[in-house]
């Protein structure tokens, strides 16, 4: 298709115009394209096109040992490397039956909830940016996010590509000072959430732009396998932290926020409310963490050979259900390594949410899905 064919600029009333949004477009959060068919301003068809960032992560992982896949998982959803690590190590632990000491479980919860907080802060900032609130909210969000990344750096050595978890535990122990720093930071985070909420929650423009836009009905959300805050915005109470109770999540008291309209506004509020719940979990985890080993000394990291078999491990990542499906044939490399990428599967219903909307709403609907192309394309 030539450019001329793609963009027919002089479409009269009732005429169909095809627009290729992306792949290089500031609203697509990466290299992502939407083939949109418009009737005037109204979307009548939308096909997501991706794969521009595809590097066949799964094949790379199948060629390497179990240990060497961990740093690659950092690069899936590159904003949340800690939770990606966790999903993978959880699957390997299930596959090989590796126990995890309690302290390591607590550290995992702490870093995972910090990850969730910074992901949601960033997402809300980007979403508001998509709506035209350029810069200010995003900078506030990034300011707080940086503080969390600083903590990650002093713990694991890297801000984003943490490569921190190992099957059977975590790589390095955290010091008492580090825990104290986290404690101090989460003491300040609720104020940030309040301010952030006050900034725009009651804003009339935001309400007009988001309420009733990009509605995702409950039944469709379930059937299309939508997970994470997006699913809960549609009113389905399904949070893997509560359902599977992996790690030590059964020990914490927290609520699962639920929306009831399933529109962009609900999805936005879901993130704000989940940030608050994450702070609650962090407070409890910091209170209850006890001393102990971070890894069973018998665990073999290098040259792990699980028995032939398969396992599916999943966690509630900030974007939804992040799962890893591993098939072992008894050798050092996984025979099959499969990622369940939440943000790719959440894209399945992008068209359904956008049909009949204005083209400007496509941008914010996509923004509210929270995609990261490293994970969508793998």
């Amino acid at each position: 298709m030539s450019v001329d064919e793609m963009v027919t600029l002089e479409a009269g009333p009732g005429e169909i115009m095809e627009v290729s949004m992306g792949p290089h477009h500031p609203s697509t959060h990466g290299v992502f394209r939407m083939d949109v068919r418009l009737e005037g301003e109204r979307v009548v068809r939308l096909k997501p096109v991706f794969g521009y960032l595809h590097r066949n992560h799964e094949k790379i992982a199948e060629h390497g040992a179990y240990l060497s896949a961990i740093p690659y998982t950092d690069r899936l959803d590159y904003l949340c490397s800690m939770t990606n690590n966790w999903g993978y190590v959880l699957a390997v632990e299930k596959l090989a039956g590796i126990p995890v000491p309690e302290r390591a479980e607590y550290i995992r919860v702490i870093v995972a909830e910090l990850t969730r907080f910074q992901n949601h802060a960033g997402l809300v900032g980007f979403l508001l940016q998509d709506m035209g609130a350029s810069g200010t909210p995003l900078m506030y969000a990034f300011r707080e996010r940086e503080k969390i990344l600083d903590l990650f750096e002093s713990l694991s050595g890297a801000r984003m590509m943490c490569n921190y978890m190992r099957f059977g535990g975590v790589r390095v122990d955290c010091s008492a000072e580090w825990l104290e720093e986290v404690r101090q930071l989460i003491g300040r985070l609720p104020r940030f959430v309040d301010e952030f909420e006050a900034l725009l929650r009651a804003n009339e423009i935001l309400m007009a732009r988001t309420q009733g836009v990009g509605v995702l009905p409950r039944e469709l959300a379930i059937n299309a396998g939508v997970t994470g805050p997006m699913l809960r915005a549609s009113g389905v109470n399904y949070d893997i932290r509560k359902v599977d109770k992996y790690g030590v999540y059964d020990r914490f008291e927290f609520q699962v926020p639920l929306g009831d309209h399933g529109d962009v506004y609900d999805r936005y509020m879901m993130r704000i409310l989940e940030m608050r719940e994450s702070v609650k979990i962090l407070e409890q985890a910091l209170r209850d963490i006890s001393d102990g080993p971070i890894m069973d000394p018998k665990t073999r990291l290098r040259g792990l050979r699980p028995k032939a078999g398969e396992a599916y491990g999943r966690i509630e990542s900030p974007k939804g259900e992040l799962g890893f499906f591993l098939v072992s044939d008894g050798t050092m490399n996984p025979y099959r390594y499969r990622v369940r990428p939440p943000s790719m599967i959440n894209l399945t219903i992008l068209e359904d949410m956008c049909l009949g909307q204005n083209v400007a709403d496509v941008v914010i609907t996509l923004g509210s899905v929270d995609i990261v192309l490293g994970e969508v394309d793998r």
Binding site: P71, Y72, T136, E153, S154, N163, E195, N203, I294
Partner: protein, 227 residues
């Protein structure tokens, strides 16, 4: 009232603007490159090779066991083993890398090479301003660029380096004690042999000749891989 939400939002912006003059929490940026945030101790970038003493080439701890080469996820390490051997810090004869290259443009700073190295020979550096205008050779580091002294390591990762030095000292002491014990045992054996039967004197001589000298008893390869 219409516009109330907008005013509320503007108040927040104002609070942040004026707050940034007084509150450190609201002003987090620095004027790079004149000002810099200090890097935390754990921070990591690209690997370097440690050497003891003052000779980068001679003091390299790496014994070219090639474990890191095999475990490096993007396979960016290239090692060629030497033909001859040289003594390591406990005096044991070991190979050394004739060639040790890391393609830093491929390296993903994952630290797995550091974790798997059983000889404390490779560590993570903190330098990050590494841009070069040479696309294909500029970031291929050889032994020469990679070798950094133990003092440098102590400077950038003090806690970790202290632990590492302690461990190596202990190991050295153990190896020396073992060598001494083996030497005395050999001597005693030789003495007993000469005292016992005069006929076995020749073999006893041979045994003591083996035991003495630069080659102490086998030191088991250390397997303290940091998890």
């Amino acid at each position: 009232m219409l516009g109330e939400g907008i005013i509320q939002g503007l108040l927040e912006t104002a609070r942040n603007f004026f707050g940034s003059y007084v509150e450190k929490d609201r002003l987090v940026t620095v004027q790079y490159p004149e000002q810099r945030h200090p890097l935390p101790e754990a921070s990591r970038n690209f690997p370097f090779l440690l050497y003891d003493g003052s000779e980068p080439e001679a003091g390299l701890r790496c014994v070219a066991c090639q474990i890191c080469e095999k475990e490096c996820p993007p396979r960016c390490i290239h090692i060629e083993k030497s033909k001859d051997k040289k003594p390591d810090f406990v005096g044991k004869q070991q190979f050394y890398p004739a060639v040790f290259n890391i393609d830093v443009s491929v390296c993903m700073s994952c630290q797995i090479c550091v974790e798997v190295c059983p000889f404390d020979a490779i560590r993570m550096d903190k330098v990050f301003e590494l841009s070069t205008s040479n696309r294909f050779g500029g970031l291929l580091w050889t032994k020469r660029e990679l070798a950094k002294s133990n003092e440098y390591y102590q400077k950038i990762h003090p806690t970790e380096a202290a632990e590492c030095d302690d461990r190596r000292e202990k190991e050295l002491a153990e190896a020396q004690a073992k060598a001494a014990a083996a030497a005395t045992a050999k001597a005693a054996q030789a003495a007993a042999a000469t005292a016992g039967a005069g006929t076995s004197a020749a073999s006893a001589n041979g045994a003591s000749g083996n035991g003495a000298g630069a080659k102490p008893a086998e030191v088991p390869a250390k397997t303290t891989v940091t998890p």
